[in-house]
Each structure stands twice: as structure tokens, then as C-alpha cells.
Symmetry: D2
Subunit: 355 residues, 4 copies
Amino acid sequence: MDMLYFASDYMEGAHPSILQKLQEQNFCHFPGYGTDPVTQSAASRIRNACHCPEAEIHFLEGGTQTNAVVIRALLRPYQGVLAAETGHVSTHEAGAIEFGGHKVLPLPQSQGKINASDLEAFMDAFHADDNHDHMVMPGMVYLSQPTEYGTLYSLPELSAIRRVCDRNRLFLYIDGARLAYALSSPQNDVTLPDLARLCDVFYIGGTKCGALLGEAVVVPKAGTIPHFFTIIKQMGALCAKGFVIAAQFDALFSNDLYLHIGDSAVRLAGRIQTGLSDLGIRLLFPTPTNQVFACLPDSLTARLREHCVLAFMEKADDTHTVMRFCTSWATEEAEVDRLLSMLEALLRDERLRAH
Amino acid sequence: MDMLYFASDYMEGAHPSILQKLQEQNFCHFPGYGTDPVTQSAASRIRNACHCPEAEIHFLEGGTQTNAVVIRALLRPYQGVLAAETGHVSTHEAGAIEFGGHKVLPLPQSQGKINASDLEAFMDAFHADDNHDHMVMPGMVYLSQPTEYGTLYSLPELSAIRRVCDRNRLFLYIDGARLAYALSSPQNDVTLPDLARLCDVFYIGGTKCGALLGEAVVVPKAGTIPHFFTIIKQMGALCAKGFVIAAQFDALFSNDLYLHIGDSAVRLAGRIQTGLSDLGIRLLFPTPTNQVFACLPDSLTARLREHCVLAFMEKADDTHTVMRFCTSWATEEAEVDRLLSMLEALLRDERLRAH
Amino acid sequence: MDMLYFASDYMEGAHPSILQKLQEQNFCHFPGYGTDPVTQSAASRIRNACHCPEAEIHFLEGGTQTNAVVIRALLRPYQGVLAAETGHVSTHEAGAIEFGGHKVLPLPQSQGKINASDLEAFMDAFHADDNHDHMVMPGMVYLSQPTEYGTLYSLPELSAIRRVCDRNRLFLYIDGARLAYALSSPQNDVTLPDLARLCDVFYIGGTKCGALLGEAVVVPKAGTIPHFFTIIKQMGALCAKGFVIAAQFDALFSNDLYLHIGDSAVRLAGRIQTGLSDLGIRLLFPTPTNQVFACLPDSLTARLREHCVLAFMEKADDTHTVMRFCTSWATEEAEVDRLLSMLEALLRDERLRAH
Amino acid sequence: MDMLYFASDYMEGAHPSILQKLQEQNFCHFPGYGTDPVTQSAASRIRNACHCPEAEIHFLEGGTQTNAVVIRALLRPYQGVLAAETGHVSTHEAGAIEFGGHKVLPLPQSQGKINASDLEAFMDAFHADDNHDHMVMPGMVYLSQPTEYGTLYSLPELSAIRRVCDRNRLFLYIDGARLAYALSSPQNDVTLPDLARLCDVFYIGGTKCGALLGEAVVVPKAGTIPHFFTIIKQMGALCAKGFVIAAQFDALFSNDLYLHIGDSAVRLAGRIQTGLSDLGIRLLFPTPTNQVFACLPDSLTARLREHCVLAFMEKADDTHTVMRFCTSWATEEAEVDRLLSMLEALLRDERLRAH
């Protein structure tokens, strides 16, 4: 029987319209480093989708790279970046931000999200501290939409965070590695134009949202980062064939593809959550996007992994582990059917053995 | 009339067999970060081509990134990298090596090449200097094959450099961004197995040699760089969909494609050189690979650029500039015909005007 | 009335025997950068005091600098340093460790101290995490003796931490900025030879312990850090006139001065603690060295500060702040008398007002 | 017979008035980190001496540290610092600037000096280069007064460099490690007020000019470097007992001491030069300050070093080496007498042997 794959949303190639676009332009000649018409076209489509005609758009290769480049470009040497203690930059980027010289200042989180009042409390304490000139000065807020736990910031929540940023001269930067899955969620009320209005910089994820690879950095106020091109080059993130990444976003932003590419993934993640609950498996908490977190007994996990690739999230207790089931734009209904049947069979078998 | 494109070898997409491979595997599911069977297959093909069954292979995204990652991974904090003063790391990487904390120690060059005796003289002077503990300690030699000036190191030249490295405990690292064009040159006598034997690390260029993007790092002695995976991640160079880059090298190393993908480019660059000479245009020097450097009068360059995209190399004098004509695996004979006709016409016109 | 000074232990010059030593050697000629006989003598005295004839000794200028230099020298790029979330490197060094490229990995603390079981739990969780190759790898443990909260690690506590380090291949580094006050504490059972036996590197504080400035780094196993001299230079921490710092340690390690220079400070800090308690002022917790932490009402603090310089530690609640009273080798009994009288008078006055 | 010491100007302690000042203030209590009245007084005296009442003054510990801190504080990440290829930052700081992430861009030099026209040519070539966005952008000029070769910039030379800086938006920073010896030179026409007028930042050397250690950074336009205090702290360069360094500058800037502390050193270096010439020893070139460079036969150097500590500069040829004789504020006439006699005797002896 074929393996099932629910470990992540970067297990397949690209949306067919992207491959077609790459095929069509394959023998065109373009100048390098994003000075080509494909890049112009893709940038223009993204500006339109964001209702932000002034925005600068830059195409980079991957998420950790993008975070490292943007954060370093925005901060001054004496500044750090505030992030949820579970934020990607805090945990799973192997110290990429610190390699660039900046401390990640951890904020408390709930379901992967920070909130405006904790942020404000942090800033108040910083300013009240007599020794703050000896401390890393917070220079920006990093958050991800959806978060690493599949949850979403609501528009009021983001707006409140923005207000604290304004009062404290903090940049607001949003990591949209999985942004398509937020935009496809029925629970989402934050649009691309909202992001362009609220953020100093954000990025629209490609790698996890149907591209072969690539992320689109949006700087709503052009000129926010002087010499950003050279900083990108210096950090090894400038793609010689910029048109290869741009073409993918050109396809993703044609016919509103990006706004709907996550629809089925979100719906199928919902089906998995219902299915797990029906089977008596505890969810860490329900999530509105494409990532599902379940507390599985380690014995079940071991057997499940013989047939299904899924991802470790964190230990729950001595005998349980939080595992992630992740759907993607490429996940098929039949795969979810098979997953749920398999789980049901394994659980039935476990119960029999227990007798 | 259509524009001509001779600015670089990264103006087109990918070799058709690469696009086909990406198409074929598009809906396969693969685990992330290079832990997939495509990566294994590509690595295995490269090991075979290098006659180096022990080698570690890593797939990165671009050349500047690869240089920054490898150099930082090999050096200790107190060490620097020796490179030709015209080396890519010395000039056109926007300080990527220094961003990682290491000095690029410039060596004199001729036609883009360093030589063993200058290297040895540098090391002797370093050791003879009473103050060398206050200086950056050379830790490795960086060179590129072919060089930024399209020239080639011969096997005796490389072997001599290796011997100086051995005597001075220097790593030898070769940047093969355009390696296919070296391997396709009739003047070349350095094979992939030679590189694997002589280098501590080298990389096989994809971006400029027929891939959409990507470079393959070869570490002949596995384990030379402990925790290289984490260093790659930390520097933002770990591709989530590693199989996207690996698939391209899998195609490039099937049926000896990589060994011959540069053949026509090298032949056509030869035709351009002959053509330019016939037209009385001075070459900077003849080159055996796919880059041609010509000293053009600025008036001619200005008119040529209306019809042909080519690249600035350096000012020659007040009225002349060294311009680069670059062919690629995708360059067609007819384009070279048109280029030479165009140059002839422009020169005729210039002469008429001069009367 | 003269101000009182209890803000820190670095408010005065140097122990008279240090000034005398500097005076005596003032017109001697010494070679630079620690290659002089004074440095040899001081190093030799420290080796003797540590019962560690093999140790390498290096003299640096200040504490933050020393932490940054040692931590960077010991770690590989992919590694971070484990430290109490209240550790000096975590909080009050303005991101010096991150500037050097390394993440400070925070551990929970109690009264400023970490413990072996939390450390072990952290390491177990790291190894159990499937994603640990994407995370910063812990490479060393940093702790301070006494801690930033004036508390002490006992010999069994340190030994237990050392065992966890051994099992996990972690370096152990101890920041001894105030080490003299530990060595003078009746509650202390950790000697210099114990530190030399348990640590990979530690430093003996001078700046806060009677020197004009300077810290002595002890590397018990010579050669632990290759090319440490050049790393020190590279980080701007190499003192041209090394003999100026060395001379101070030569004096401090003559006649056991360092072992007793903190005696009166520790005794007077004890008197302050008793006095505060007698006046009904709550201590954060009792401390066995030269730092006293008291929760003062903000109104009292404001009035006290008109006559006494003391240090902010942290907000306790909306109307109270934890303030630090710090004694030093130079603090006089009479100053403590005046402080306690002043507090008594202020409290009496507050109570009268309250009626 | 006692050794002679001409290796450097940092072989003795401090000017007696400095030791006296440290003695006098030894038991005063001062707040830390430069917030004390001694620091205010010293800063005020320096502002007066510079005719620059607005200047910010910061006291750091050493020269390499100061260069690293100032250069990093002034530059943006994509910028580098232009310096003579013989500049201290280019050669003898073990890569401290690169550790901070910035490239040192080498300029040609003559007798240790750069000039305005080479600088302008460099900037013109940079702007004319089509690829300059891929290159390190020059952000400042570093030079030293006097230079590492003991030579001096004249006021017209410095003014011309300043004009090129203005035209190219470059900061101008001057390393005054040995500034006292410039100010004491009869050939000098650049005053402290000139430096304050021409530089964005410069530093007044203490370590080599009569202090135990310490350098005074002058920022003529206050506010040029936001959050400089925190940057200094982050780079481990903030002295807890700031008053220890400040007191030394307070003494050096009392009664014009700094303006004359180098007088005898410069005069004695002149005597050495005359003496060497009289003995037929070739000078590298004559110098107007306290450093003398002579080409000595290696046999002579070997014998001289048995009795005299002097410094290696560079190899001249296979049998000769350029050695440095350095005087200081503490050098005595009799030492120069002995040096010249010794040289005469050794040369006579060599000549006898040659027969």
C-alpha cells in the first residue's frame, strides 16, 4: 500500500499553471537579478492584489532566508526583534537571526499568537527599566499569519498590535509563509490590503503555497529599506534568474489563484479534525487553516508512521506526543479518506490488543 | 528587430530535460530538506561522475550563497580566505564573506588566475611577519574554474596550488559556477575526479549551466564540515523542497548531460572571438570558455546596446570599455551570426561617419 | 550631607596595593600585549591559587567583553549558550553574544540560579526533538558565581551541572565578575581549585573586586581554545599595555589578598540585610554575598535616592520596586550606619505622614 | 648591561600627573559607565581643546576596539570602509572590522598616506561600474594621523579628502592613536580644532600618549550616532569604571599637557634619524613624528636585538628588514645616546669581521 504524506505542505512540486508558465517562457531571454519584465508583471499583480500601487516587491528563495534578510535590513545593530517564543524565528531557524547579530526577544504566546497587551507590557517594562540602555532595544515585532500552530490573527487583534507598534516606534513584520491558507480560511478576516496597510513589511509565501520555491516580500512604503537590493545580495539571497521565482508569482496572482489555492487544503484539514475528534483523539486545539495538531499515544504514532509520513511537533507527556497533520494545495480527498480509515483501523486494533 | 542577448549565461530557463523531470515528479510526495529519494539519486550520480563514492553532496540555491556558506563553514573565526583580487568573493558579492565575519585576503592575479608561487610567497611573508598573531590568518584558498575572466586552471597549476595548501594547512575550495563551460572546453584538462581529488570542497554550478537555479556542493571527504546541515539552515540556504534542486542535477547528471551542455556555448564563444578579431576589435585576451571580453569604443558600445544586451566589465580607458559577450547552453548559432553582422554594420557606419 | 553610594561595587578606584604596584613599575619598560614578566608573574600566582599549573591565563578589560570573547571562542557557529534567563549575558549585555552570532538559550532560574535537572531536561528535550537539526545546538553552559542576584552555587550543585555537561558535551563557563565576594562568603564551599577542576573556562573578576579594571580568564586545560590570542585581538579586547592589568592581578594575588578583599563587603551586606529586616522592609530573599535586594515602596525609594545612590533591579508591583544595595571592598562601616539611620528616619517620617 | 626599549610607545605606565589623579580620586564614589563628574570634566576639557562645545566625547579602552566600534556604528550593513592598504584596520587588527560585518576597501598609499585624488578615482570608478549594486558601497574613509608609518597629513591634504567625502556622502574618521606625536611635530599644521571641523568622528589616543590605557572618541556633531552608548556596550567596550579612563584624559587635558607630551619623543626620534643616517643606515623615509623606520641588514638586527627591543615592520629584501625604532613620552635622552653608541660599535665590529 502506498505511503500517505501529511508531514508538511512542501512535499509536492508546483501548481500546474506555474509549470506551464515556466515552460512557456523557457527560451525567452531575460536580464538577471529581477530586472526583467516577468518580475515587473508579477510585482504589478501583487501590488494590485494588495491595493497598494506604491509597494516595492522583492522575490526571495525561502522563508528562513526572507526572515533573516528583512529583519536585518530593518533593524539597527542595537535592536532586537520581538516574537512569540514559539515563532519560527525563535525556534526553527537554527539561529539565523542571531547569526545576523540580532537578539530574538521572546514574548509569551497562546496557541502560537502574541497579543497587544503583552506586547505593550513588555515595552512599558523596557522603558521603565533604569538599565534599558544596557539591554537590547526592541526594534520590531515579528509574527506569522497563520502562526506556526495554524491559528489566525483577527483584524482587530492585528490592528491593536499595530497601535502598540506605533506608540513604541516598532516596525511590524509578518511572516506569511502559509498566507494562502489564511486567505482561504472561512474564519479569516485579514485581507492582503489589510496586511499592506498594517505592516511595514510582510511576505507572501510561495514555497508552501503552490510554488516550486520562492517568497514575495512586500514593502508597502517604497524606500523603507535603503539599498535593500545590495543587502539581499550580501546575504546570498539574490536570485540570478529572478524571473524563475517571479514567473511563479505571476501565475499565482493571475485569476485570483493565490486567494483560492488553499481552499481545499483548509477544508480537508477541517475534515481531519472532525475525523480525529470522532475517533476520540484529542486535538491540541482546533485550527482554522491547514495544520492539525493532535495528541497521539506514542504507540499509535509508531504504527501510524509505518504508513503515513507526519511531523513531530512537541512531546505532550511521557507517553503522548503532539503530531502535526498538514494538508496542502495538492492534497486529495481520497488521501484524507485513507488516513481516517487507517486511524480507525489502528485504534480498533489497539483496543483489541488492550483486552 | 528582436534584441540580442549576450549579457550572461543566466538569461534563459532550464534545459528541457530538467523541465520534463520537474513535470514528471510534480505530484509525487517527498519529505523536505533533502531527505528525499530524488536527492539521493542526484547525489549518487554526482558521486559517480566524480569517482568519489564517499563524497557528501549538498544542494544550495545560488552562487554567492554557496560561497558564503562554504567559506564560513570551513573557516574558524580568526581565519580569512585567500582569493584573486578579481575573484567573485572579492568583488561582486556585496561583502557576503565579510558579513559572515571573514576577511577576503586578496592575491595578485593574471587573466583572473592566481598562481602557486604568489600564494606561497604570501604564506611565507605571513609566517615571517613577527606580528602575524595580530593579523588575519589565511585558512583557505578560493578560486573559480573557469575564472571570472573565462580562463582555466590547468591540472599542473591546480596541483601546484594544492601542494602549497598542504604545506600551509589551507583548505582549497573551488567555485564552479560555470564549471560546465570548463568541462566543455577543448583546452581543459581538469576533470570532475581531478577536482574531487584536489579540493576540500567545490561546487558544481547549476544556475549558469542549464538549471533553473541551484548549485551542488561536493565535499569529497564526508564529515569535513561537522553540522553542515545546521549551518546551511542558519544561513538561510536550506531549501524546504530540496527535491526541486536535486531533480535538476539528477537530469544534468543523466547521460553525461553536464559534461556536454556547454559544448555549443564554448564553440560559439570561439566564433565570436574570431569574428571580433576579424573586425579589428581588440580582445582583452583570448578565452577558452563561454565568456568573451572585448575592448569596445564607448560610442560603439552605446549603439550596440540599442540592439544587444551585453555586460559591463570594467573601464579600459577614457573612451573604451571592456564589455563581456557571454554565450550559454541556450545560445543559438543564428544569434551569433546576427551579432557579428550587426557589429560589422555598426563599424562600417562608424567609419563612414568618421570621414 | 554627603551622598551615600550603594549602587554598585564599581564606584571606587583600586585597592591601595594595586596603585602602589602601578606606581612602582611605572617607568619600567615592558613589551606589549601580555608578553612581559609582570603578566608572567600574575599568571603564575593565579595558577598557584587555582592549584592548576597547566592553566592558561589571559587578562581582559571588562566583564561583558570577557563573556563575548570566551563564548565566541568556545562555540562553533551552529551552537548557542545556555544561561539563566536572568544571566548577565541574557539581559544586560545589550546583545553582545548575539552580535557575535550566537543565541543565548534561556533556562529557568530560581534566585538567579539554574540547576542540573532543568539543564538535563532541556538537553533531553533537544535530543528528543525530531527537528533539532533546525535548531540552535546548545554548546555550553554559562553561569555566574555569585549570580546576578548575589546567590551562590554550592559545590554539589556545580558538580551536578558539570556531570550534565559531560554527558552532553557542553562546555562549562563561569562568569566570576564578583568572585571575590563568593570566596569571602561564610556560606561558600567552592574554591578556586574547584572552579579550575569543574570549568572549561572561568574568569576571576577584577573590576568589581578591587582593581581599576580588568578580568583574568582561566583556561585550566591549556590549548582548549586554539589561536585565542588572535580572537581576543579581533574582538578588540587585547590590551596593548597588558602589564597594566596584569600588575593589578599580581597585587590581588599576593598575600591572598583576593581571597579576603571581599570579607568586609560581605559582612556589611549582612548588616544591611539585618537592618532592613529589623525596619520591616522585605528582602527579595536573603543573600550570602555583597548584594542586597529589597522591595521598597516607590515613595520611599524616591526620598532615599535624594541621599543615597542605589540601583534599580526590577519592578515588584505597581507601587514597589526591587532595589539593590551593593557593598564593595571599599565600603566603610560608617556608611552602613548612616544608611540604616537614614532609612529609619525616612520610615518614621512616612509613618507620621500616614497619620 | 640593561636592555634598551625602542619597540613601541606603549612600554611604560602613565604620565605621573595621571597616576597622581588616580591616587587622589581613589576613594571617591562615582556612578558607573561614564555618568560621573570626572567624565564630565574630562569631556569638557576636550571640547574646549577642540573649540567644539557641541561635541560628544566617549572614553573607550583601546585602539582596535575604538576603530571597530566607531566604524560599525557609522556604517550601514551594505557599506564598507575605505582605508590605506597599510592602515591599521587593513592589517593589524586581526580582522576586527570584518568580524563586525564590514569590508575594508583598500586604497593605494604612499608613505602610509592616501590622497584625495586616489580616493576620488575610486569613488568615480565605483559609480561608473554598472555592477555597483552588487559591490560593497563605500560608506566612510578611515585614516590615521600620524599614520602607521609616522607620517602626517597636512591641512590642505586633509581638507581635500574632506571635500571628496562631502561630494560622495562619505563619513571621515581619523584614528589618532598617536595623535600627541602629531601635535608635537614641528611639521604639523593640523590642530585639534581642525580635526573637529573636518571629521565626523576622530579619536584622541591615550594608550600610546601617556595614559595607562584609554582613547577618547570625539563626535563633533552630537547625535551623529544614535544609541552609541548601547552599541559601545554591545561591543564589550563600555568601561564600568568610566572614571578611571576619564581621569587620565582629565589630567592629559589639564595645562595643555596633551599638546606637549610628545615633544621630547619627536625630538629624540629626529636624533635617531640623524644618527642612523650618519652611520650610513638607510631610512625607509624620514618621518616627522616618533616612529623611525630603518632598513637594517638581518645580521645587524640579530645582534642589535640582544641588547635592544625593537619592532619588525616588513621584509625589505632577502637580507634586509625594515625595523621600527619608536620613542615615547617616557624615552630619555640617555637611552638614545646608548642606542646610537651601540649601533656604531656593532657596525664597526661588522666591518672588522668583513675584512
